[in-house]
């Protein structure tokens, strides 16, 4: 049970970073921390103690297998996470060119 709670704690660490950091790049890093805590949870869900890779062996069909589905989901989610991170970095670079700073307190033209 404790590992699942640690996973959630990692998620909250990322959330804390997103809320409190003032630097655009650090916000992006915090987002990645959150993202990977979720992936870690997925990987943990599929884990079976003493399980082997899920390749069915006709000689011994009742082996203890790990659940392969979460792994497939995590691979998909990692690719999506890459796209979101790349998109966010592209916008950060553009923002830096416009404002000359990474400080979120100076980027506030939208109000109200």
């Amino acid at each position: 049970m404790i590992v699942y709670l640690l996973c959630f704690l990692l998620f909250l660490v990322g959330l804390y970073g997103v809320i409190t950091r003032r630097n655009l790049v650090k916000i992006a890093i915090s987002m990645s921390v959150m993202e990977f805590s979720t992936f870690l949870l997925f990987a943990l869900i599929g884990y079976v103690d003493g399980g082997v890779a899920p390749i069915v062996d006709p000689a011994d069909p009742v082996k203890n297998y790990v659940d392969p589905l979460p792994q497939a989901l995590v691979l998909t989610a990692i690719v999506i996470g890459l796209a979101t991170t790349a998109m966010m970095m592209a916008v950060i670079i553009r923002l830096y060119r416009k404002y000359g700073t990474f400080d979120i307190r100076e980027i506030k033209s939208l109000r109200g």
Binding site: V18, E35, M88, K98
Partner: protein
Amino acid sequence: MNPLIPLFVVIPLAGAFLIMILGRFIKDFNKYFASLALLVLAIFSIYCLATTGDNISLYKVGGWEPVNMVPIGIYMVMDGFTVIVLCIINIVGFLSVFYSISYIRRFTAENLFYALFCLMIGGMNGVVLSGDLFNIFVFLEISVISSYALVAFGVEKNELEASFKYQVLGGLASFLILFGIALIYWKTKTLNIADISRVLKSGYDRSFYLFVELLILCGFGLKAAIIPFHAWLPDAHSSAPSPISAMLSGVLIKAVGIYVIIRLFFNMFAVSENMSLLITTLGTLSMVIGVFLAIGQWDIKRLLAYHSISQMGYVVLSVGIGMILISRGERPDIAALAVAGGIFHLINHAAFKGLLFLNAGSIEYTIGTRDLREMGGLAKSMPATSATSFIASLSISGIPPFNGFFSKLIIIIAAIMAKFYLLALLAVIVSIITLASFMKFQRYAFYNKTENNHKEIKEVPFPMKFSMIIMSLLCIVLSLLAFPGIRDVILMPAIDILTDPVKYSSFIIGN
């Protein structure tokens, strides 16, 4: 097996691909191909609306049949509620892309615009059609990542800042959703919505699922911009190019936000009274606070964006009342009426809010400003824009012959019959404030005479006029949905599938 269902995803994805490849070599290929693809999808979605009725049709991706009654492939499901949202997506999408033919000329990189537009449509169609939780997440990310890029399309200070804000909050929402999906999979060992609902029927751990429901509600609430989660919406929707604002406000927050909330809370989780009270409260808050935030705005698109929050509040409120009644197990007829009001308002909001954003785009296109104080006297020089925006303004504020009146009336009647008198009163008051706010918009933009004369202003080009006029006709025609004969054909199948607790899952598992 209905082999036509995947076309809703395949056509826009193929369109995006072909536009990027062939658009480089063939002049004007991008705009005509995108319009053509969206037109085909729009006609196709109307055909599906006409033929689906009470049926549910399935498509199993890869042809994986269920093993021991447990679905193992990815399912795409089309039922009465799905086709309504598909129609909204594809019709508003077609009109917006047709509008963009003239509007987007002043930007560079038109190829990218049309390709991203097609990707966004493909993602939304996928979210709506998917019968599988993880697939909802994947398609959701396709549509929102392309919308992040489209919000930043102007690459000026405001656009980039809005896009960054949208990405941080949108990313947070995605991870909350993914976390919720992981927890659901952990307990039920399945991802198919119908199968999860079947597993949950045979008993579950109340407090664990309360946590999961809260995660899912926060995640999709962020995407739908219900009030405590609304901070990104006014910035993102006002900074995007106008056809994209029309898509974001008119379609995206519904397809990836409200639709999924309604689908999951009615068809997957067992509806609980606490959760439905929470949803109704959030809806009421959005309805009231959204309109008060809107009334002080001078930027037209920000004003419209805040009104989107308020109008979505009506939908959530009405659906929430239906959920409360279902969870208490009393008066199923009123519950059906409340859900009908919510869905009807969802359809209407797509028509009039899309139209209003297109009007705002036309004004910006001709006089180059979004500030209401710098406009005035446009009624003479822009008759089509002025007339259509007048129709849309009356429609959103609930004036009788237009569609907004009928859906608000149904919502208020349902609230009174369910004995939520305070909510009914609030709905009426918010509607009056909306009217005041749109009278301000009309007066400052079109009638007020100012010293800066706009004599040389011309009406917008044909594609923009065409889209606006069709949308305004839709605003009038959609009010027919309130009448029994048409309502039974179009709205009732959607309400049946939502209010009947077993129909959805038993059909899909049974096959």
